[in-house]
Protein backbone atom coordinates (compact mmCIF):
# COMPACT_ATOMS: atom_id res chain seq x y z
CA UNK A 1 0.00 0.00 0.00
CA UNK A 2 1.26 3.50 -0.81
CA UNK A 3 1.01 5.77 2.22
CA UNK A 4 -0.13 9.33 1.83
CA UNK A 5 1.18 12.21 3.87
CA UNK A 6 -1.33 13.70 6.28
CA UNK A 7 -1.37 17.41 7.04
CA UNK A 8 -3.03 18.52 10.23
CA UNK A 9 -4.18 15.16 11.58
CA UNK A 10 -6.40 15.64 14.62
CA UNK A 11 -7.22 12.53 16.61
CA UNK A 12 -10.67 12.11 18.13
CA UNK A 13 -11.14 10.62 21.61
CA UNK A 14 -11.55 7.04 20.35
CA UNK A 15 -8.37 7.27 18.27
CA UNK A 16 -6.54 8.70 21.28
CA UNK A 17 -7.75 5.82 23.44
CA UNK A 18 -6.60 3.33 20.82
CA UNK A 19 -3.15 4.90 20.66
CA UNK A 20 -2.92 4.80 24.43
CA UNK A 21 -3.65 1.06 24.22
CA UNK A 22 -0.80 0.71 21.72
CA UNK A 23 1.50 2.75 23.96
CA UNK A 24 0.77 0.37 26.84
CA UNK A 25 2.39 -2.36 24.82
CA UNK A 26 5.78 -1.35 26.13
CA UNK A 27 7.54 -4.10 24.31
CA UNK A 28 6.75 -2.22 21.12
CA UNK A 29 8.87 0.65 22.34
CA UNK A 30 11.78 -1.72 22.95
CA UNK A 31 11.68 -2.99 19.40
CA UNK A 32 10.90 0.19 17.58
CA UNK A 33 12.45 3.06 19.50
CA UNK A 34 15.85 3.00 17.85
CA UNK A 35 14.32 2.86 14.40
CA UNK A 36 11.61 5.40 14.98
CA UNK A 37 13.52 7.84 17.16
CA UNK A 38 12.62 11.43 16.43
CA UNK A 39 9.90 10.54 13.93
CA UNK A 40 6.34 11.80 14.19
CA UNK A 41 4.97 8.27 14.55
CA UNK A 42 7.41 7.63 17.41
CA UNK A 43 5.96 10.62 19.21
CA UNK A 44 2.45 9.37 18.61
CA UNK A 45 2.91 5.64 19.31
CA UNK A 46 5.77 5.31 21.74
CA UNK A 47 6.35 8.44 23.81
CA UNK A 48 4.01 10.13 26.28
CA UNK A 49 3.55 13.19 24.12
CA UNK A 50 0.10 14.74 24.28
CA UNK A 51 -2.22 13.50 21.54
CA UNK A 52 -4.55 16.48 21.81
CA UNK A 53 -2.87 18.42 19.05
CA UNK A 54 -2.50 18.45 15.31
CA UNK A 55 0.12 16.28 13.58
CA UNK A 56 1.72 16.34 10.18
CA UNK A 57 2.70 12.85 9.13
CA UNK A 58 4.81 12.45 6.04
CA UNK A 59 5.13 9.51 3.69
CA UNK A 60 8.65 8.95 5.04
CA UNK A 61 7.26 8.65 8.60
CA UNK A 62 4.99 5.84 7.45
CA UNK A 63 7.81 4.15 5.55
CA UNK A 64 10.05 4.28 8.61
CA UNK A 65 7.22 2.89 10.70
CA UNK A 66 6.68 0.03 8.24
CA UNK A 67 10.40 -0.82 8.37
CA UNK A 68 10.42 -0.68 12.16
CA UNK A 69 7.41 -2.99 12.31
CA UNK A 70 9.45 -5.63 10.46
CA UNK A 71 11.49 -6.05 13.62
CA UNK A 72 8.44 -6.39 15.86
CA UNK A 73 7.47 -9.97 16.76
CA UNK A 74 4.42 -11.23 14.90
CA UNK A 75 2.35 -11.70 18.06
CA UNK A 76 2.80 -8.08 19.09
CA UNK A 77 2.22 -6.83 15.53
CA UNK A 78 -0.99 -8.86 15.40
CA UNK A 79 -2.31 -7.22 18.58
CA UNK A 80 -1.59 -3.76 17.18
CA UNK A 81 -3.34 -4.66 13.94
CA UNK A 82 -6.42 -5.67 15.92
CA UNK A 83 -6.54 -2.19 17.47
CA UNK A 84 -6.01 -0.56 14.07
CA UNK A 85 -8.64 -2.72 12.33
CA UNK A 86 -11.22 -1.79 14.97
CA UNK A 87 -10.46 1.89 14.40
CA UNK A 88 -10.67 1.56 10.61
CA UNK A 89 -14.26 0.35 10.86
CA UNK A 90 -15.39 3.44 12.78
CA UNK A 91 -17.01 6.44 11.15
CA UNK A 92 -13.75 8.34 10.62
CA UNK A 93 -12.83 11.49 8.78
CA UNK A 94 -10.53 11.03 5.80
CA UNK A 95 -7.33 11.97 7.70
CA UNK A 96 -7.89 9.57 10.59
CA UNK A 97 -8.85 6.81 8.14
CA UNK A 98 -5.55 7.45 6.26
CA UNK A 99 -3.64 7.34 9.57
CA UNK A 100 -5.12 4.02 10.68
CA UNK A 101 -4.70 2.55 7.20
CA UNK A 102 -1.00 3.38 7.46
CA UNK A 103 -0.79 1.71 10.88
CA UNK A 104 -2.70 -1.39 9.77
CA UNK A 105 -1.31 -2.02 6.30
CA UNK A 106 2.12 -0.38 6.45
CA UNK A 107 3.56 1.01 3.25
CA UNK A 108 5.29 -0.44 0.19
Amino acid sequence: MNCQSIDGLTLDSDSIRAIEEIRKKRKLANYMSSLLSGGTLANILITNQSLVMSFNIYQTDFQLYAEAMNSVPLILKNEIEKIASYQLLRNLDHKQRTFWKGIYYGCN
Partner: protein
Amino acid sequence: MAAIKYFFILLLFSNNVFANNLAEYNRTLITYENKIKACKELKKIKFSNKMKLNIDKDSIRAGLSYFILKNDEECSKKEKSELINKINTIQNDHSIANLIRLNSKNLLEVFKDSSKILSEAKKDFMALDNKTKMKLEKIEAYTRPFDPMMALEYYLKEK
Protein backbone atom coordinates in the same frame (compact mmCIF):
# COMPACT_ATOMS: atom_id res chain seq x y z
CA MET B 1 25.39 -45.99 46.65
CA ALA B 2 21.75 -46.65 45.78
CA ALA B 3 20.86 -43.25 47.14
CA ILE B 4 23.41 -41.57 44.86
CA LYS B 5 22.15 -43.55 41.88
CA TYR B 6 18.61 -42.59 42.76
CA PHE B 7 19.65 -38.95 43.08
CA PHE B 8 21.21 -38.90 39.59
CA ILE B 9 18.20 -40.60 38.03
CA LEU B 10 15.96 -38.04 39.67
CA LEU B 11 18.24 -35.22 38.49
CA LEU B 12 18.24 -36.58 34.94
CA PHE B 13 14.46 -36.94 35.02
CA SER B 14 14.08 -33.43 36.44
CA ASN B 15 16.34 -31.98 33.77
CA ASN B 16 14.25 -33.68 31.11
CA VAL B 17 11.09 -32.20 32.59
CA PHE B 18 12.60 -28.72 32.68
CA ALA B 19 13.98 -29.09 29.16
CA ASN B 20 10.55 -30.28 28.04
CA ASN B 21 8.86 -27.24 29.60
CA LEU B 22 11.03 -24.89 27.60
CA ALA B 23 10.69 -26.94 24.42
CA GLU B 24 6.93 -27.05 24.89
CA TYR B 25 6.77 -23.32 25.43
CA ASN B 26 8.78 -22.72 22.26
CA ARG B 27 6.56 -25.13 20.37
CA THR B 28 3.33 -23.43 21.43
CA LEU B 29 4.84 -20.03 20.56
CA ILE B 30 5.71 -21.16 17.04
CA THR B 31 2.35 -22.92 16.63
CA TYR B 32 0.52 -19.75 17.62
CA GLU B 33 2.56 -17.61 15.23
CA ASN B 34 1.90 -20.05 12.39
CA LYS B 35 -1.81 -19.92 13.15
CA ILE B 36 -1.76 -16.11 13.08
CA LYS B 37 -0.23 -16.32 9.59
CA ALA B 38 -2.88 -18.82 8.48
CA CYS B 39 -5.67 -16.57 9.81
CA LYS B 40 -4.17 -13.61 7.94
CA GLU B 41 -4.40 -15.59 4.71
CA LEU B 42 -8.13 -16.02 5.26
CA LYS B 43 -8.50 -12.24 5.28
CA LYS B 44 -7.42 -12.10 1.65
CA ILE B 45 -10.53 -13.99 0.54
CA LYS B 46 -13.01 -11.64 -1.14
CA PHE B 47 -16.61 -11.48 -0.04
CA SER B 48 -18.93 -13.25 -2.41
CA ASN B 49 -22.25 -13.67 -0.64
CA LYS B 50 -24.29 -10.90 -2.24
CA MET B 51 -27.15 -9.83 -0.02
CA LYS B 52 -29.00 -6.57 0.50
CA LEU B 53 -28.66 -5.34 4.03
CA ASN B 54 -31.55 -3.09 4.94
CA ILE B 55 -29.78 -1.83 8.02
CA ASP B 56 -28.46 1.61 8.94
CA LYS B 57 -24.73 2.23 8.53
CA ASP B 58 -24.04 2.65 12.25
CA SER B 59 -25.47 -0.79 12.97
CA ILE B 60 -23.43 -2.34 10.17
CA ARG B 61 -20.33 -0.70 11.64
CA ALA B 62 -21.15 -2.04 15.09
CA GLY B 63 -21.52 -5.50 13.60
CA LEU B 64 -18.34 -5.39 11.57
CA SER B 65 -16.31 -3.95 14.48
CA TYR B 66 -17.39 -6.81 16.70
CA PHE B 67 -17.04 -9.50 14.04
CA ILE B 68 -13.53 -8.51 13.02
CA LEU B 69 -12.23 -8.87 16.57
CA LYS B 70 -14.37 -11.91 17.39
CA ASN B 71 -13.28 -13.80 14.27
CA ASP B 72 -9.61 -12.93 14.78
CA GLU B 73 -9.81 -14.23 18.31
CA GLU B 74 -11.69 -17.41 17.40
CA CYS B 75 -9.41 -18.24 14.50
CA SER B 76 -6.41 -18.75 16.77
CA LYS B 77 -8.20 -19.36 20.09
CA LYS B 78 -6.96 -22.92 20.65
CA GLU B 79 -3.32 -22.09 19.90
CA LYS B 80 -3.44 -18.93 22.02
CA SER B 81 -4.95 -20.83 24.92
CA GLU B 82 -2.19 -23.47 24.75
CA LEU B 83 0.44 -20.74 24.68
CA ILE B 84 -1.07 -18.99 27.71
CA ASN B 85 -1.10 -22.30 29.60
CA LYS B 86 2.55 -22.87 28.79
CA ILE B 87 3.47 -19.32 29.81
CA ASN B 88 1.84 -19.93 33.18
CA THR B 89 3.60 -23.30 33.51
CA ILE B 90 7.08 -21.94 32.93
CA GLN B 91 6.69 -19.12 35.45
CA ASN B 92 7.32 -21.62 38.24
CA ASP B 93 10.16 -23.33 36.43
CA HIS B 94 13.25 -21.64 37.80
CA SER B 95 15.59 -23.68 35.65
CA ILE B 96 14.38 -21.57 32.73
CA ALA B 97 16.19 -18.25 32.40
CA ASN B 98 14.47 -15.34 34.12
CA LEU B 99 14.55 -13.29 30.94
CA ILE B 100 12.60 -15.93 29.03
CA ARG B 101 10.02 -16.19 31.81
CA LEU B 102 9.71 -12.39 32.01
CA ASN B 103 9.34 -11.98 28.23
CA SER B 104 6.66 -14.65 28.18
CA LYS B 105 4.82 -12.93 31.03
CA ASN B 106 4.85 -9.69 28.99
CA LEU B 107 2.84 -11.50 26.35
CA LEU B 108 0.06 -12.03 28.89
CA GLU B 109 -0.12 -8.28 29.37
CA VAL B 110 -0.36 -7.80 25.60
CA PHE B 111 -3.25 -10.30 25.39
CA LYS B 112 -5.10 -8.72 28.31
CA ASP B 113 -5.55 -5.37 26.56
CA SER B 114 -7.00 -6.85 23.38
CA SER B 115 -9.70 -8.79 25.22
CA LYS B 116 -10.88 -5.46 26.66
CA ILE B 117 -11.46 -4.08 23.13
CA LEU B 118 -13.38 -7.20 22.14
CA SER B 119 -15.64 -6.83 25.20
CA GLU B 120 -16.42 -3.24 24.26
CA ALA B 121 -17.19 -4.16 20.66
CA LYS B 122 -19.42 -7.01 21.81
CA LYS B 123 -21.30 -4.68 24.16
CA ASP B 124 -22.03 -2.26 21.29
CA PHE B 125 -23.22 -5.11 19.08
CA MET B 126 -25.42 -6.65 21.76
CA ALA B 127 -27.08 -3.24 22.28
CA LEU B 128 -28.57 -3.50 18.76
CA ASP B 129 -32.14 -4.73 18.45
CA ASN B 130 -32.61 -8.47 17.89
CA LYS B 131 -33.87 -8.14 14.32
CA THR B 132 -30.76 -6.15 13.31
CA LYS B 133 -28.45 -8.57 15.09
CA MET B 134 -30.04 -11.54 13.33
CA LYS B 135 -29.60 -9.87 9.93
CA LEU B 136 -25.96 -9.09 10.68
CA GLU B 137 -25.25 -12.63 11.85
CA LYS B 138 -26.22 -13.84 8.36
CA ILE B 139 -23.46 -11.90 6.56
CA GLU B 140 -20.23 -13.50 5.44
CA ALA B 141 -18.17 -11.22 7.70
CA TYR B 142 -19.77 -12.89 10.71
CA THR B 143 -18.21 -16.23 9.85
CA ARG B 144 -14.50 -15.70 9.24
CA PRO B 145 -11.52 -13.30 9.59
CA PHE B 146 -11.69 -10.48 7.06
CA ASP B 147 -9.86 -7.41 5.82
CA PRO B 148 -11.32 -4.19 7.28
CA MET B 149 -11.06 -2.04 4.14
CA MET B 150 -12.57 -4.86 2.06
CA ALA B 151 -15.49 -4.98 4.48
CA LEU B 152 -15.94 -1.20 4.40
CA GLU B 153 -16.08 -1.23 0.62
CA TYR B 154 -18.35 -4.26 0.39
CA TYR B 155 -20.87 -3.52 3.11
CA LEU B 156 -20.71 0.25 3.43
CA LYS B 157 -19.50 1.29 -0.03
CA GLU B 158 -16.68 3.28 1.59
CA LYS B 159 -13.00 3.44 0.56
